[in-house]
Symmetry: C2
Subunit: 402 residues, 2 copies
């Protein structure tokens, strides 16, 4: 059995925590009689500090140099974990991203993994080593060090697991798994034991920050079961796997809340062919991410166009949309909204899931501003002040506490 484990910055936060990680690694090795490859993040705070340093001299430091500095944090923790494992009597060796054969493109600070040459990793596994790999980094084809951007160490772990054909990839953080909703909002929120890749993708994009989408997508592509769990508890965590591997899929798995969206309402847009393409083209040019889009049926040669964007991109959007002012009656921006989503693979085969949500909103007198649905998700935009009430009501309505 081959397991790839990844430990985040909080888990590697200081020497005594690294010792704790070493013990967990050894436990996994012994209990499961497994070969272990361990991917580590930098100590929490270190990467932020290095980012601060690199931006001291210039608002736009050369990304190549930023990567040279940033990649150091994981080199340090990988060496320290190898030393800790050796001090406990186990053969262990640290490998930088380069030594681990992680080849990326040349987009510094947000490189993408192109290929992993696992030969050295496999050599060491065969020799009985626990292989500790510096996460978040690789090298491009010219040998320059690159980093993978936010959540990069998770990506390293999943990609290595995929390239090695590992049986399991465990992501250890300070959160003990994926919950039916945010436990700070609804106390009866329950940890989910198993969830499908697709559901996780919907929940992750809603701001359940346990895992970034890139990692989940990669795990799905490689078909590697992914477990997210806490390094500070013995809890089993949440397994993210294929729908088929979940015996009793819930109709609804979880309720996600996203308070970082803004609604853009374009009223009385000239209803001519191609106008929507022009508007969204202009936004795309400004690298603004559009999420939900609702267009009403036109009347009198006019139509209404509503969509949501991240709040942080409102100013850019205002600039990008200026040139359409003559063709639009009014453009409104509303940040006082929340997006609530009901996610579950069971929806595909169960009718009435959406209607139960609408009934719940009606009972609580919450007005629905926009609706968008996919095969496994129903998302609604409501007024921000009702966000927590909506989450709690839906959690109860779908009996997620059970």
């Amino acid at each position: 059995m081959l397991i790839v484990q990844k430990y985040g910055g909080t888990s590697m936060g200081d020497c005594s925590r690294i010792e704790n990680v070493a013990k967990r690694v050894i436990q996994s090795k012994e209990h499961k009689n497994a070969n272990l490859v361990v991917v580590v993040s930098a100590m929490s705070g270190v990467t932020d500090k290095l980012v601060e340093y690199t931006h001291h001299f210039s608002a736009l430091p050369n990304p190549r140099e930023v990567d040279m500095a940033l990649s150091s944090g994981e080199r340090i923790t990988s060496a320290l974990l190898a030393i800790a494992l050796e001090s406990m009597g186990y053969k262990a060796i640290s490998l930088s991203g380069r030594a681990a054969g992680i080849i990326t493109d040349s987009i510094h600070t947000k490189a993408r993994i192109q290929h992993i040459d696992t030969s050295l990793i496999q050599d060491y596994i065969k020799q009985g080593y626990i292989v500790v790999i510096a996460g978040f980094q690789g090298v491009d084809k010219n040998g320059a060090v690159t980093t993978l951007g936010r959540g990069g160490s998770d990506l390293s772990a999943v990609a290595i697991a995929g390239a090695l054909g590992a049986d399991l990839c465990e992501i250890y953080t300070d959160v003990d798994g994926v919950y039916t909703t945010d436990p700070r909002i609804e106390k009866s929120a329950r940890k989910i034991d198993k969830i499908s890749y697709d559901e996780m993708l919907e929940l992750a994009s809603m701001g359940a920050k346990v895992l970034l989408n890139r990692s989940v997508e990669l795990a799905k592509k490689w078909q590697i079961p992914l477990v997210t769990r806490s390094s500070f508890s013995k809890d089993e965590g949440t397994m993210i796997c294929n729908e088929e591997d979940i015996m009793e899929a819930a109709v609804v798995s979880g309720i996600a809340l996203d308070k970082n969206q803004a609604r853009v309402s374009m009223v009385d847009v000239a209803d001519r062919p191609g106008i929507a393409a022009e508007i969204f083209g202009a936004l795309a040019e400004s690298h603004i991410n559009i999420d939900m889009i609702v267009q009403t049926i036109g009347r009198d040669g006019k139509t209404d166009l509503d969509f949501t964007i991240p709040q942080s991109e409102v100013e850019e959007a205002k600039n990008a949309l200026k040139r359409f002012e003559s063709e639009v009656g009014m453009i409104e921006f509303d940040c006082e909204i929340a997006k609530v989503s009901i996610v579950g693979v069971g929806m595909k085969s169960h009718s009435g899931v959406a209607s139960r949500a609408f009934k719940t909103f009606a009972q609580e007198n919450i007005n629905i501003m926009m609706i968008s649905t996919s095969e496994i998700k129903v998302s609604v935009i409501i007024e921000l002040k009702y966000a927590e009430l909506a989450v709690r009501s839906l959690h109860k309505a779908y009996e997620l506490e059970k």
Copy 2:
């Protein structure tokens, strides 16, 4: 003109100091119209912190892993300096020891440079880059990262200067050069403008901690003029070069003091052939460094043997010498001693240098316990309490303040 500069940990201590270093680098480039290769240390304190981390888990951590962690500090500062230089409008690029082509043996934590493949450095110089290289590190022939031990960044700089055939190697520290003696002892101590490699070697081994001997030896071997100066002042510093390149060599260049020696006195040693070889063989096996040795002429089949060792090695020496107890009347260890040395290439051609020292000691009523001389040095062992008095008197006797 090609200049290699090296900046130490204090000079690279924080972002504003790195900015200051960047300005100095640019000044050198502009004023001397030179190509610049800059070797940097880690921020002061960082390497010590990393050493502490690696020893948290084990008194003897795997040196390979220690090097993986330790080499990070210089990677960070090299990237930061490159960013600082770019922010000031200059082309700059950082290279790790690996990228700079520094190949070492595999003795981790105290590796020796075997070879430098300068092709990448030279490429970047040709393209007009200021090349910033992470000091203190290299890779062995298997590609494992190594570090060079104490003073390693100086060694990197001198070796790179040698391999590139540089015109000059400047070592920037927080000290502004080599002095005729320790200014904390004798206020009239004067900074030396030029000193020969050989004199510097004698002064350095006495504890004038400006440069380690390995660096001076290497500079001598490569015939690279070496300048040691402060990054915090405009002072010219001290140039270390060939004797022939110093127009007016002083008879005496400086007075060095070493308070870290201990005297071992073996009284009434059986005067049989080979006994000295056995005693010093036993000490060598225990890796104890012998400095001065004095043996009196034997009488009655007995002889006296005096020598000095570092104080830190007294306990090992006691153990190593136990087996000779039956052949020796008495073994005494005395840590209350000081070694004072008068160094100068002019001695070779001037008589009376040593006698002036002895006269000075006599005037001050300082008893001489041991004497040892070389072509360019007279060293005496005296009681510790007279150490500073001896230094001040000699400094005056040789008129070094002038």
